[in-house]
């Protein structure tokens, strides 16, 4: 048994230590907002926060997450949407939507660390794949979220 803290809740999970955090989140805890896309840290669909920092959970053994605050897409807002989520709606970003949990988690972590990123900084840090090609809207939405956060 391992003890994890996910979205503020502490729980015991039955999993081998080398199980990727992704599968514990999805299959053991049934928080399915975090997605599986590649399993090799190449797409970002599985992005969650470990102590506020974006990680690709398919490539983090669950044992490494013990003792950290794990936040998933389900845990970033309590009732009220965050600026990033608001911006995602107002710019009509998602298409199929499958990559978007990971995108939103990656962008949320970026804006926490760097509230006004330049386009180059965005390019460097948001390397997730969106097969539907929502990138032009993602870029607009990031700038919009920066603005919304500034107003808040």
């Amino acid at each position: 048994m391992l003890t994890l803290t996910i979205n503020g809740k502490t729980m015991n999970v039955d999993a081998e230590e080398d199980t990727p955090l992704l599968w514990v989140i999805r299959d053991t805890v049934n928080l399915t907002g975090t997605k599986f896309g590649c399993g090799v840290a190449a797409c970002g669909a599985c992005t969650v926060h470990l102590n506020g920092e974006a990680v690709r959970s398919c490539s983090v053994p669950v044992s490494e997450a013990v003792g950290s605050n794990i936040t998933t897409i389900e845990g970033i807002s309590d009732g009220k949407l965050t600026a990033v989520q608001e911006a995602w709606i107002s710019e009509q970003v998602p298409q199929c939507g499958y990559c978007q949990s990971g995108m939103i988690m990656a962008v949320s972590a970026l804006l926490n660390e760097n509230p006004k990123p330049s386009d180059e900084e965005i390019d460097q840090s948001i390397t997730n794949i969106c097969r539907c090609g929502s990138y032009p809207r993602i870029r607009k939405a990031i700038h919009k979220a920066v603005k919304l956060q500034g107003e808040a």
Partner: protein, 754 residues
């Protein structure tokens, strides 16, 4: 000047139908189908008024959507059409997946709209038509593909909304003892014209549901529209920013087990031996399953299943395809293309004779690779097999087909099959296939009465796809003294998608027949040449091929629009003017081209190292023109700076939705042009996952501007037409910047780095 032989309208429908694999249709008969199909899904207090609309006593309006939502915004589009006629705010209308029912797919309508008897391939029966008869006739088809959704549903959904509205009015009229035309519908309320009485839809629906559906209802005039034609927020988006949207892979059921597979790496290979005892003590192990092409492990979590199946010792017999390679496949194409077995899909004048007489013949050979779909959500399917029934949860583009295959695989009566569709994490044609459904049910049969969720890894997905066919094209053309193309001969060799698709479903089928997916985008180009011949040389291989966003257009547009550009430069003509000069009477194409030249600042000077390229292509009933601007560094560092896109798809339902589909199609095609290649070696796929099957990311995504140029032509598709022109527009831009002509995709092959 030769005149385009085929009747355009019919051809367009064909492109759409065949392009998507199977047609989406519903017979637009004299009246809207009644509510029977929805009665069983109606909850307490909910009343179906026809096959599409349910209204609850609280006034909640539910629209049954038989189309899969895979990102194209179809839920929103169909709800908009209903809301418009029903006189309610879009926010009040909720989509719900329609049950599998023949009313949502009428084979007669599909067959009626087939164009196969008159043109494009000279009266022959085609594989497409054959497929439709066999598969469609057998099942009634309920599928999403070929950019057909809005086109097929536009009027029926409006009719459904209007019929419901009239029934509500009638119910009110009876209550108030007035004539129905004295009542008006407004914002979910029926009012008496003089304003003296009013009732909500919720109050009236129970009575309205008992009434006969009225016939011949007038739809709203274009001027009276409040929703259609205006950008609307998509109804599915809020759930997609909170992680709440449920995709197939997210299905969680009580007592559910998980399965992972290991499949024969070589196409056509089979399992000859295994040692299931070797893994029985692994954590979470439930059962190992052996089937013809691979093995599966069922465990209590996906990760445990995956680890166990990786550890499971298996011996495969590679079969006869072990020597197959991309090289041998292209050699086959080269060989076939020189044979006399070409099938002609368009033939004006006498191109061969004209080329023999011409003093200067320009020739070129083009190649396009196999491509994988790589939907963001890997293939998955959850199945629960009971004693005499099967229940399946699967994100898919064709529930009817899934239902049929489930019935066959589980060997249960048709009425004991239940299919649940979910949101699709991308489709692009991959989810018209049934392979992973067969696999899931085969595995779940071993664990009776317990749901099993089969999830493919990305490696499974990349290596066991039904690929966009590889193809080879050879062109010969002559240009006359006035700089016009006097003869054009285009030969294309490659496998046929429809044939491969149908053979997978009905292995005994003889499908050696014409297939429009091999010639679309090549036989039907808008340019008027005195002598024009387009032939296809069927070249089946053991690599399974399938419908991939824009199908044959995806490579034919690259071939034809690149070669057209070559001819323009050869004739020393501006590429826009050269195209314009060959467009004959096609005013709609000319409009798009003119607008594109204007909004892209075509002709304005660019600094050294930069270039601008153009492509113009029609597919699925929509004309799309694109201009790409590139910058090339001294060591072939390529930056795709900007894409300007002009689209004419007839009337526009949701402008912002259309724009997002254009952006999406462009980026999809750009990923393919820059990086996309599935390589075959030793009968198997070399690529495994995103690191070697890469995609455009934020960093290399160009600025995209989309302009709408509706001309009033018939309604066209949106999901696919932006994909075909991007590759030639890009390579034409590279030529403009460097004078290097790219004749083979992807660009990484020509040592460009991105």
């Amino acid at each position: 000047m030769a005149i385009m032989k085929l009747t355009r309208r019919k051809f367009l429908i064909a492109g759409g139908l065949v392009g998507g694999g199977l047609a989406v249709a519903y017979a637009l008969g004299d009246s809207v189908p009644d509510n029977k199909a929805l009665v069983s899904s109606a909850k307490q207090g909910e009343y179906p008024l026809n096959a599409w609309i349910k209204i609850s006593k609280q006034g909640e309006i539910t629209v049954a959507v038989s189309q899969a939502e895979m990102g194209q915004g179809i839920y929103t589009a169909l709800c908009m059409l209903v809301a418009e006629e029903l006189e309610v705010d879009l926010a009040l209308v909720k989509p719900e997946p329609a049950p599998v029912h023949p009313v949502y797919a009428n084979v007669v309508a599909i067959m009626d709209s087939l164009p196969f008897s008159d043109g494009h391939h000279n009266g022959e029966a085609t594989a497409g038509a054959w497929a439709m008869k066999q598969v469609g006739g057998l099942l009634g088809v309920q599928a999403t593909g070929g950019s057909t959704s809005v086109r097929n549903f536009w009027e029926p959904m409006q009719q459904a909304g209007a019929t419901a509205r009239e029934m509500l009015k009638q119910a009110a009229a009876i209550n108030w003892n007035v004539r129905a035309d004295e009542c008006i519908a407004e914002n979910g309320i029926i009012k008496l014209k003089n304003g003296s009485k009013s009732s909500t839809y919720g109050d009236l629906v129970e009575q309205a549901a008992l009434l006969e559906a009225p016939q011949n209802i007038q739809l709203k005039s274009v001027n009276a529209r409040k929703i259609i034609g205006k950008s609307q927020q998509r109804v599915d988006i809020p759930a997609k920013v909170t992680g709440k949207a449920e995709f197939g892979v997210d299905v969680v059921l009580p007592d559910m087990a998980y399965a992972a597979v290991k499949l024969s790496p070589v196409f056509g290979g089979t399992v000859t031996d295994w040692d299931e005892n070797a893994i029985k003590t692994m954590p979470g192990f439930i059962k190992a399953v052996r089937f013809e092409t691979g093995v599966a492990v069922i465990a209590d979590s996906f990760w445990r299943a995956k680890k166990a199946v990786e550890a499971l010792p298996v011996t495969f017999d590679s079969g006869t395809n072990v020597h197959l390679s991309s090289k041998s496949i292209f050699a086959l194409f080269e060989n076939n293309i020189e044979s006399d077995d070409g099938r002609s899909y368009s033939d004006d004048g006498d191109a061969k004779a004209a080329l023999l007489l011409a003093s200067d013949v320009h020739t070129a050979t083009y190649k396009a690779p196999f491509l994988a779909h790589a939907c963001m959500e890997p293939m998955n399917c959850t199945a629960k097999v009971g004693d005499n029934d099967v229940e399946v949860w699967v994100p898919n583009q064709t529930s009817t087909l899934m239902s049929w295959i489930a019935e066959q695989t589980a060997d249960v009566p048709a009425e004991n099959v239940t299919i649940h569709n979910t949101f699709l994490g991308g489709g692009f044609g991959r989810r018209l296939e049934t392979d992973y459904v067969v696999m899931a049910i085969t595995i779940a049969k071993e664990l009776k009465n317990r749901p099993v969720k089969l999830v493919w890894t990305r490696e499974n997905d990349i290596q066991h796809d039904m690929y966009r066919p590889a193809a080879l094209a050879k062109f010969s053309a002559a240009i006359n003294e006035s700089g016009m193309v006097s003869a054009w001969h285009n030969r294309v060799a490659g496998p046929s998608v429809t044939r491969s698709f149908v053979q997978r479903l009905i292995p005994a089928a003889d499908t050696d027949m014409p297939d429009n997916t091999t010639s679309e985008g090549a036989a039907d180009i808008p340019y008027q040449f005195e002598n024009k011949l387009m032939e296809h040389f069927p070249s089946p291989t053991a690599i399974p091929v399938g419908y991939w966003r824009s199908v044959g257009h995806s490579y034919n547009a690259f071939f034809t629009e690149s070669f057209m550009d070559e001819l323009a430069w050869t004739a020393k003509k501006d590429p826009v003017e050269f195209r314009m000069a060959h467009l004959g009477e096609h005013d709609d194409f000319k409009n798009v081209l003119r607008k594109l030249a204007e909004v892209s600042n075509w002709g304005s000077p660019l600094p050294a190292g930069r270039g601008r390229g153009i492509a113009l292509h029609e597919s699925f009933g929509s004309i799309v023109g694109q201009v790409v601007e590139v910058t090339i560094g001294p060591n072939k560092e390529l930056s795709v700076d900007k894409v300007t896109c002009v689209v004419d798809c007839g009337e526009v339902l949701n402008p912002d939705g259309l724009i997002s589909q254009m952006e999406s199609g462009i980026i999809f095609g750009l990923s393919a042009a820059l990086f996309g290649e599935i390589t075959i070696e030793n009968g198997q796929v070399v690529e495994e996952n995103f690191p070697d099957y890469d995609m455009v990311r934020l960093e290399n995504c160009p600025e995209i501007s989309v302009h709408l140029a509706p001309s009033g032509r018939p309604l066209g598709g949106a999901g696919e037409p932006a994909t075909p022109p991007i590759a030639p527009a890009l390579t034409n831009a590279i030529f403009a910047a460097t004078k290097e002509r790219i004749r083979e995709l992807p660009l990484s092959k020509s040592e460009y780095s991105i």
